[in-house]
Symmetry: C2
Subunit: 299 residues, 2 copies
């Protein structure tokens, strides 16, 4: 009796532990074939962990810090914890900003850590093509990962790879009910699909995949993948942690201030009888015109 | 035939335009009664806009900047746009970090803007209690808003109010499949529910509400509301925009450097014959021991 819109999300059982070298499309396809044969327009959300496992992205655990460093192209923020350890938020080789570059030590075999897939958009495409071939339907595939976020507590799942499905439902150019343009609305639908799927997938429950049925309108064979959801550092108002940026500014300001102060100190001394250098207040007013040498960095 | 987990999301039609003073629980209840009578364990996600409208949170549009300022308790980051206008990210009176303090000018009557609900957790509670009474079932209610985020392009819907439903599914203390503790996993399920609902709700389509069925495990009468999802500035590694923090650090460093430089300049002059003050290089080495006056801020 519903006259509006609706969709459903199913997380099938029975995919089991995934091992390096497994044919993930076959494992997922077998579980779906038995429980929930895919239909045209379905969107499959696959936890990146099983994609990484199938791709054999294991590294021995002694190398965890080295693995994080190797995956890191830019350190965004670090916070040392009082009890030891640190949160390291970095931009990874993939362009994703995430804690520990997405290197994962939970639910992996003892002594190993797991890197993110080599190219999650390509992984999504391979899965989509294999499953479309097997079932003869048009599908979307999203590879999801769990990400923390500034300003809000807890994590949500987001799309780190996508194929055949829009990453963003670009409403720019649309108008609202009063006919005024919706200038800034770009729902990140792939992230919302990943978040929805996380509500039934179970990290520790052997349910690494969810199938979303009813949102075929989001399918788009020409969609560019999830990489478009990554905001480059140049466009990002939060490309560096607050403490790090403050510290960087302080070092710069110190060098600038030192140079100005030094020149002003010399000048003040030259205005004063020898042997009677002023030691009290620094001069008021703007001393920025001073053409002074750069001093040693302090702070 | 599905042996795993599943849920469904429905966005009923027919709620129509909401006006100040409307009984929102009655409007939503009527639409649901006709199309989709709520069942025990259902979770209702309601767009904050209709909650604000029913609560009469309109302000005349000439006051938009004043309205944003009045809602702001802390400016997080500002970026001027080349074509005019600016993005102003602030912590609002509610503790939510959002562009323009959540003050909304789209889909509102000409000449007005809309503030967020006075107390979204209380709004969610009132809606829940009214709908539970009417239908005789136990429900969860989430009030959602559309939020941008650092690092990623586009927006997702998040929970700004909640009642009767967990905001976070706290898995700390759980163990993974290998028996190792899942120390940091706290899925922000209320945000994921809001994101899922956004996939069928239609801002411009007259579908401001979605009903989620199948996730009754997330209901919790004692849950503390969505406020727990707000990370306080003190705990936030991104409490201030990168440019703002750098600028703040630069001012501080400049004052510190100026004071050190000024003292060092005086000292250098005193080591030099009168009338022959050195004007060339600043001294090498650490001048930090100088006990100098604070200089005027520069830079």
């Amino acid at each position: 009796m519903v006259s509006g819109a609706s969709f459903a999300v199913y997380a099938p059982d029975g995919i089991g532990e995934v091992q390096a070298g497994d044919d993930l499309a076959a494992l997922i396809g077998d579980a779906l074939a038995e429980q929930l044969p895919p239909q045209d327009g379905d969107i499959l959300v696959v936890t990146s962990k099983v994609v990484s496992k199938a791709e054999g992205r294991f590294v021995v655990a002694e190398d965890r810090e080295a693995a994080i460093a190797a995956e890191t192209v830019r350190v965004v923020a670090t916070r040392e914890h009082p009890g030891g350890g640190a949160t390291r938020i970095v931009e990874s080789r993939l362009g994703i900003v995430a804690a520990a570059a997405g290197v994962d030590a939970s639910n992996t075999p003892e002594g190993t850590v797991l890197l993110l897939p080599e190219d999650p958009d390509a992984s999504a495409r391979r899965l989509r093509e294999a499953l479309e071939r097997r079932f003869g339907v048009r599908l979307g595939v999203i590879v999801s990962d769990t990400l923390g976020r500034p300003w809000r507590v807890g994590q949500t799942d987001a799309a780190i790879g996508a194929s055949g499905v829009k990453a963003m439902d670009d409403l720019r150019g649309s108008v609202d009910a009063q006919g005024r343009p919706l200038v800034v609305t770009q729902p990140a639908v792939a992230d919302e699909l990943a978040a929805a799927a996380d509500l039934v997938k179970g990290k520790a429950l052997g349910r690494p995949v969810a199938l979303v049925r009813g949102l075929g309108r989001l399918l788009d064979q020409a969609a560019p993948g999830a990489k478009v959801l990554q905001r480059g550092a140049a466009d990002d108002m939060f490309s560096l942690g607050t403490a790090e940026a403050r510290q960087e500014g302080r070092r710069l300001g110190d060098a600038e201030g030192y140079a100005r102060g030094y020149a002003e100190g010399l000048r003040a001394a030259s205005r004063t009888p020898a042997g009677d250098a002023p030691a009290g207040d620094a001069p008021a007013g703007d001393a920025r015109e001073a053409d002074a040498p750069a001093g040693p960095p302090g702070g």
